[in-house]
């Protein structure tokens, strides 16, 4: 009846129990607080059933940040273990538990922190920047979010029900991830958590691609589009071509584990290296899916705080598409050691080095944008400066590893770990922080505290160098990744201790960020943004109020040039002849997306535990929600023009 479920699946391990208890306490506290404030109805009406991308974006970021905190705790546990587990001492983690922790860290950081922040920003900024009232498919957008949420919850549930995470590394290479070597449910949780969230990402990819290509404000042809939207478009194209590979690959692994197929088994003719090829054919583009939007953010931040238009707009666009194309031609550099032969390795090595060219173009363009600009060193700009320093360092390390003979030495060493953390923390994370700081006043109506933001930046930057420069050195000394214990005679301990201190400094930075959020909310009256344009911005999103009204723009703006809002602000003939407001149609709230997410969650759970009668029921339920949705015809409501006029007048009064 209940498949493999029984009372033994409750965790016994102390550390795991601690994790479960803390998650339970946080959830209970949240539930208690909402009940105490009697906010359930409000939460349901204003957030959970909302199809407004501005709200969905905030929910994405909230989930991503919570998952990210879990990932940081994992990182801290790993570095502590490595700092103390030397020679006769074995640290506080069992080897098996240590493996689960590094798997969880990678999985959560990539799929749920980075992807969540990215989709959050897409939702918040893309419709505003292109002068649109909504995304192309609002219902689908909400469904994507709830699928992402369902995936995140499945990943978290693996600790509470089953008491284990996959112990396979974040990409779960077979044959280790096959049933014969990983008989527990950890890998199944991993598969279905990622599968459900991944399908959400794929649907979002389609949605935003159509949004950007079909819903731009009149006059905004592609070459007048803000660079953030260009980079998002590049990222979306990668999502569309890469995520189906992930879906197929995870399905094959799931079939191997569930119904006994032989795709990647080491017997019956299966081919484990096929999995490694497929997962990286998704995985390498995924890296660029994450970094391109960060590049886009910097392309907005640098011109704004340098008071100059972006240098080399056209070359920026070509660089993006160069990266998009090349990112599909480099996947094999993740396993030069497979033994594909000298010519194959040489091809992929050269392609990998070639990616440095468009990336270099972008870095120089940002620097030339700053050249002779009137630079203001606000926090987003600090994140940019930190990014240029670290990202260039990491990029050079990447080119070193692109040389196959060098890679044979560096493969699976801490040098590699240091390299990709430089790219992801120094690139993606710094970029997201810059973007969140930059657009925060647009979303919430008040700026973040500058001083605490600067403290957070310096902690992050110094902590990052302390944590990862030792890893480069350790990697060159021969330390491999994923070690839970090493011999004292190797002389690695001092460097590992430095790295652990670095993590502590980063955590201090996170502490400053939480404090910054708290202080900024508390003193929001001091930092309130009354103009809608707190940074003297250039693109359309700054032309509407902060936070924007539900319909974004009462009158859809007409774009005449790049830096559309800058041109509007500085054009002499102020032709704001009061165009009469028109009624605005917007999609109504719906509870079907969260229902779909819930059913997907139960579906995943049922398959993980082999409850084979429940899974088809959930699938039927999902089909039923689709049928209900497609047979209804009218999903919109209209805001009459008189109400639009009222909202606009009230905003203007607030600004006066």
């Amino acid at each position: 009846m209940w498949g493999k479920l029984n009372t033994n699946v409750i965790p016994h391990d102390l550390v795991t129990l601690g994790g479960v208890a803390s998650m339970a306490i946080i959830s209970l506290a949240a539930v208690g607080y909402i009940s105490y404030k009697r906010r359930w109805k409000w939460l349901w009406r204003e957030w959970i059933t909302s199809v407004d991308p501005k709200k969905i974006g905030v929910m994405y970021i909230l989930v991503a940040v919570l998952m990210g905190l879990r990932g940081v705790i994992d990182a801290a546990m790993m570095r502590t273990q490595q700092a103390i587990s030397v020679g006769p001492h074995h640290g506080f983690l069992e080897p098996d538990h240590y493996q689960q922790i590094f798997t969880a860290h990678g999985t959560i950081m990539i799929f749920f922190l980075a992807m969540g922040l990215m989709f959050g920003l897409f939702n918040l900024i893309v419709p505003l920047q292109i002068g649109s009232r909504d995304v192309a498919f609002p219902y689908l957008n909400a469904t994507s979010f709830w699928l992402f949420f369902a995936g995140a919850m499945l990943i978290n549930l693996s600790l509470a029900v089953g008491g284990q995470f996959a112990a396979t590394g974040w990409l779960a290479y077979p044959p280790l991830s096959e049933l014969s070597y990983s008989p527990g449910v950890g890998v199944d949780y991993w598969i279905w958590g990622l599968q459900i969230a991944g399908i959400g990402s794929l649907l979002s990819g389609i949605n935003f691609l159509v949004t950007i290509l079909k819903m731009r404000a009149p006059g905004m042809n592609l070459m007048k589009m803000p660079m953030f939207c260009w980079s998002v478009l590049g990222s979306l194209s990668l999502i569309i071509f890469a995520f189906p590979i992930l879906t197929a690959t995870l399905t094959m692994l799931a079939l191997d584990r569930t119904i006994g197929t032989h795709f990647f088994t080491s017997y019956f003719g299966g081919n484990p290296m096929m999995y490694v090829n497929l997962i990286w054919a998704w995985g390498h583009p995924e890296v660029y899916i994450l970094i391109l939007p960060a590049f886009g953010i910097f392309s907005e931040v640098v011109p704004t705080f340098s008071r100059k238009p972006l240098f080399g707009y056209t070359s920026m666009v070509w660089a993006i598409w160069g990266i998009v194309l090349l990112s599909f031609l480099v996947w094999l550099h993740h396993f030069f050691t497979m033994g594909a032969g000298a010519n194959v390795n040489a091809f992929f090595g050269i392609m990998t080095m070639a990616i440095a060219v468009p990336t270099g173009v972008k870095v120089f363009n940002w620097l030339f944008t700053m050249y002779r600009g009137r630079i203001q060193f606000k926090t987003p700009m600090l994140w940019f400066m930190g990014f240029v320093a670290t990202f260039t360092l990491g990029g050079v390390a990447g080119v070193v590893m692109a040389v196959p003979p060098a890679d044979f030495q560096l493969h699976n060493s801490l040098f590699l770990v240091a390299h990709f953390h430089t790219m992801i923390i120094g690139g993606v994370v710094f970029g997201m922080f810059a973007g969140l700081t930059y657009w925060f006043p647009k979303i919430f109506g008040f700026k973040l505290n500058e001083r605490l933001g600067r403290y957070a930046f310096w902690c992050w930057f110094i902590g990052f160098l302390l944590a990862f420069v030792p890893l480069y050195i350790l990697g060159l000394m021969g330390a491999t990744r994923r070690l839970d214990h090493y011999d004292a005679s190797l002389g690695w301990q001092q460097l590992f201790i430095v790295a652990a201190i670095g993590v502590a400094v980063i955590i201090a930075g996170i502490g400053f960020q939480i404090l910054q959020l708290y202080v900024s909310i508390k003193n929001r009256d001091k930092n309130i943004d009354k103009t809608g344009d707190p940074w003297n911005g250039r693109s359309l999103e700054w032309s509407t109020s902060s936070p924007p009204p539900i319909y974004n723009y009462a009158t859809i703006p007409v774009v005449k040039d790049r830096d559309a809002y800058w041109v509007m602000k500085h054009s002499k003939n102020e032709t704001s002849s009061e165009t009469p407001y028109v009624p605005i149609r917007l999609p109504r709230n719906t509870s079907l997306p969260i229902l779909t997410g819930f059913l997907a969650f139960v579906f995943g759970f049922a398959i993980i535990w082999h409850i084979f009668w429940l899974a088809p029921l959930c699938l039927l339920g999902i089909i039923a929600t689709l049928a209900i949705r497609t047979t209804g015809d009218d999903h919109d409501y209209t805001i009459p023009s008189s109400d639009v006029a009222k909202i606009e007048a009230a905003t203007r009064r607030g600004y006066a």
């Binding site: 690959t249 079939l255 088994t265 019956f268 299966g270 149609r585 047979t631």
Partner: protein, 196 residues
């Protein structure tokens, strides 16, 4: 106001059909992945039968003809929908559903037959990739049939709506797409399989 709704339906049609095309491209990548896997694993029979032994070309040709005919009939249904001819749309969609169901029954018979002889997906990596590739196509056909059934019922009960044409357009695209994928399966899996 009426002009307004007509215009908004036009905009919606434009967006939605384009979005559906993009979705089809993602599905195309999914099938490409399965084809690539099949190409890598097709010789890994591990002592089990090869394609030469288990494929029957006349049978597959029958499947192919049925599916191609269904693609023709749904094309006609789409034309009828453009002319707003409810009865004809219903008839042609019913024909398509029957043909699609017949294809599915034949495919399941083939699978059943193979499994009964001990040649299921558990037998070898070749059979694993064969069942998965062809089965994924079959699952898509099933989904298409369910979609068509829901739409048939709706048109039967409420007639053609302003959104019906948009939805039939997407369904038709989907069905043609599955046809194209089947042509690839027919050539790469079955024809090359028999050649060996």
């Amino acid at each position: 106001m009426k002009e307004d709704t007509a215009k908004s339906e036009q905009v919606l049609q434009d967006k939605t059909v384009f979005g559906f095309w993009v979705y089809l491209m993602t599905d195309c990548v999914l099938f490409a992945t399965l084809f690539a896997t099949y190409a890598v694993l097709r010789n890994n029979t591990y002592g089990g039968p090869s394609g030469q032994v288990i494929f029957s070309l006349p049978f597959v040709l029958l499947e192919t003809l049925i599916l191609l005919t269904s693609s023709f009939s749904i094309g006609l249904a789409w034309l009828a929908a453009q002319k707003n001819n409810k009865q004809l749309v219903l008839k042609l969609m019913a024909v398509t559903i029957l043909l699609g169901a017949a294809f599915l029954v034949l495919e399941l018979r083939e699978f059943n037959h193979l499994a009964a002889e001990g040649n299921s997906w558990r037998r070898s990596a070749f059979l694993t990739s064969f069942f998965t590739l062809v089965g994924t196509h079959g699952l898509h056909i099933t989904a298409g049939l369910m979609w068509m059934a829901v739409m048939w019922l709706r048109i039967y009960k409420y007639g053609l709506f302003k959104s019906s044409l948009r939805k039939i357009t997407m369904l038709t695209l989907f069905w043609h797409f599955l046809d194209v994928v089947w042509i690839f399966i027919f050539s790469i899996v079955y024809l090359f399989g028999v050649i060996g």
